[in-house]
């Protein structure tokens, strides 16, 4: 049993835990053993809380033994991205500057997961300060993709994705400002959910760009993503951007029925420059969903042409405002790529920033009108195949393109507009998963999850699992 136990989903192990057929101690031990064995190759974790995780597991075991079962995360080992604060623990943000930073409080998401009985294995590697898409971290090592060690795991939540993909944890939290949950999910064959802006409190998370930041789950199944999302969602007075809404209860509501959903396809923005093989895979997926009963409609959102500009201006301006005090005294302690990105934020003017906000509203109005006719938008998560480690440029149909811009292109609008978005696998090319992005209307996470669940039922990875990290 133990041999396969690590491969089960959260929903599967939670049933075993509830029935006391496995113990949290057993699951935690499995994960810690796997971390010890495979993390040296993957660099998925920055810190591992082995002793504390075992203490938490024993506590959960006692609680479940006396029928004090708290729910589907009780006794389940999870990993947390290292820009989310734990009280009295170092939170590095993947940086040299914050290598000794110790928060005196838990992030709201940590508090909520703790209450749900989850066990924390440790903190995961990330692109420094979440400012990049490769998780090629100069301070804590290059994080590797479990499907192919020469490929990036995506970023900035690359460590969380690598950990879940290689079965070092049953799920993880990531953060997403310009695709940092969905890009790693796509690269590592996982489900990555970024809900509506403000659905999940960001209190206790080091900001990247405050009007674009989100926290969300990376998991191996759609239901698992909903389980974690349900646990961390809901209003929080400590986060002024958090919506005053009750926690969701979507895991029970997902039925995977795609026949009630209308899919919008926006060709000009999301498909205009896509790797031919990736495009073929995504269009085959759309055809499959159509055969399952989903309605498919072509839509036009002309203002999306300004989305990348608006996102870039807002992202760099807010990021540099956050980092300005650190830049004054610690500029040389940043990695070269991150320092350059922060420097870029000095260039946009106040007028640029405000016009970018206006453009955001204009795009939002057009998108709102489109969502009157459709339930979800579908697009390739990445327009390219997964880039190789150290590759500053990627190739799409023979043309060289900037890797970071390519990674951000299709996922950026979800952040700019605060719309719920998920990436999930839709196939495999050259042994590496390909991701498809599903974007929903405001607060319509259930539509996004239902389409994802329907797609999941087609077994898009064909039973393939990552093995590159094993040898």
């Amino acid at each position: 049993m133990s041999k396969e136990l690590h491969q089960l989903s959260i929903s599967q192990v939670s049933k075993l835990l509830k029935k006391k057929e496995v113990s949290p101690v057993e699951l935690t031990k499995i994960c810690l053993d796997r971390i010890e064995e495979f993390n040296p190759k993957l660099n998925a974790f920055i810190s591992v809380y082995a002793d504390d995780a075992m203490k938490q597991a024993k506590k959960a075991e006692r609680e479940i033994a006396r029928n004090d079962y708290r729910g589907k995360l009780h006794g389940v080992p999870l990993a947390i991205k290292d820009n989310i604060y734990f009280a009295d623990r170092v939170t590095t943000m993947g940086s040299k500057i914050h290598k000794d930073f110790v928060s005196d409080f838990d992030a709201t998401t940590v508090i909520k997961l703790r209450k749900s009985g989850a066990i924390f294995l440790g903190k995961t590697n990330m692109h420094e300060y979440a400012l990049g898409a490769t998780t090629d971290n100069p301070h804590y090592g290059t994080c590797r993709n479990p499907w192919h060690l020469g490929k990036i795991p995506g970023g900035s939540s690359g460590g969380s994705a690598a950990a879940v993909s290689a079965y070092l944890a049953y799920g993880a939290l990531g953060t997403d400002t310009s695709g940092s949950i969905r890009v790693p999910a796509a690269a590592c064959g996982l489900v990555g959910l970024k809900a509506t802006y403000g659905r999940v409190s960001k209190y206790g998370c080091f900001p990247e760009a405050w009007s674009l930041d989100h926290i969300g789950p990376l998991t191996r199944t759609v239901e698992d993503a909903a389980i974690i999302f349900d646990a961390i969602s809901g209003g929080d007075v400590n986060d002024p951007t958090c919506l005053d809404l009750k926690p969701t209860n979507l895991a029970k509501k997902i039925d995977g029925d795609v026949s009630k959903l209308t899919i919008g396809i926006e060709e000009d923005f999301f498909f205009h420059f896509t790797d031919e093989e990736v495009e073929r895979q995504v269009r085959a997926t759309i055809s499959a969903l159509k055969k399952m009963g989903a309605k498919v409609k072509t839509v036009k959102i002309p203002s999306l042409k300004d989305a990348f500009w608006a996102l870039t201006i807002i992202d760099t301006s807010e990021t540099t405002a956050v980092h300005q005090p650190l830049m004054r005294d610690h500029a040389t302690d940043y990695g070269a790529d991150v320092r350059f990105l922060i420097e870029c934020g000095y260039l946009p003017s106040a007028v640029d920033y405000l016009q970018a906000l206006q453009l955001r509203r204009k795009i939002q109005q057009e998108v709102s009108a489109v969502f009157e006719e459709i339930d979800v938008l579908l697009a390739p998560t990445l327009p390219s195949k997964t880039p190789s480690v150290g590759e500053l440029t990627s190739v799409i149909n023979g043309k060289s393109v900037d890797t970071i811009e390519t990674c951000m292109h299709n996922v950026g609008p979800g952040n700019l507009l605060g719309l719920p978005s998920i990436s999930m696998p839709c196939g495999i090319i050259d042994g590496i998963p390909v991701g498809i992005e599903i974007i929903g209307g405001p607060l319509q996470e259930l539509n996004v999850l239902n389409l994802a669940k329907g797609l999941e039922s087609t077994n898009p990875l064909g039973g393939h699992v990552p093995t590159a990290y094993l040898s």
Binding site: L243, R339, E343, S349, L443
Partner: protein, 86 residues
């Protein structure tokens, strides 16, 4: 109308400054007085790449259709995904 920009010294190829002092009319919109060479936190080896980014900003600025951004609706910059639901 073609204007003149006051220059205290010749602009170097990687200089991203736009001089805004002593001008009457400028051939390009006034954007910023940023003088990155004098920012101690800027890595000077990044100046050529920053110039490229500046050029991108300028080229895109020219493409932004500002006439569509002046309605009172869009000028209300507070944005939230729930605006239409409120």
């Amino acid at each position: 109308m073609k204007g003149l920009a006051y220059k205290s010294q010749p602009l170097q190829s990687y200089d991203v400054r736009v001089i805004t002092s002593g001008y009457q009319y400028l051939p390009v919109p006034i954007r910023s007085t940023m003088d990155l060479e004098n920012f101690p936190e800027i890595d000077k080896s990044n100046l050529p790449k920053l110039k490229q980014y500046w050029d991108y900003l300028n080229s895109y600025r020219a493409k932004v259709d500002e006439s569509t951004l002046i309605s009172s609706d869009i000028a209300n910059i507070f944005t939230s995904p729930l605006d239409d639901k409120k």
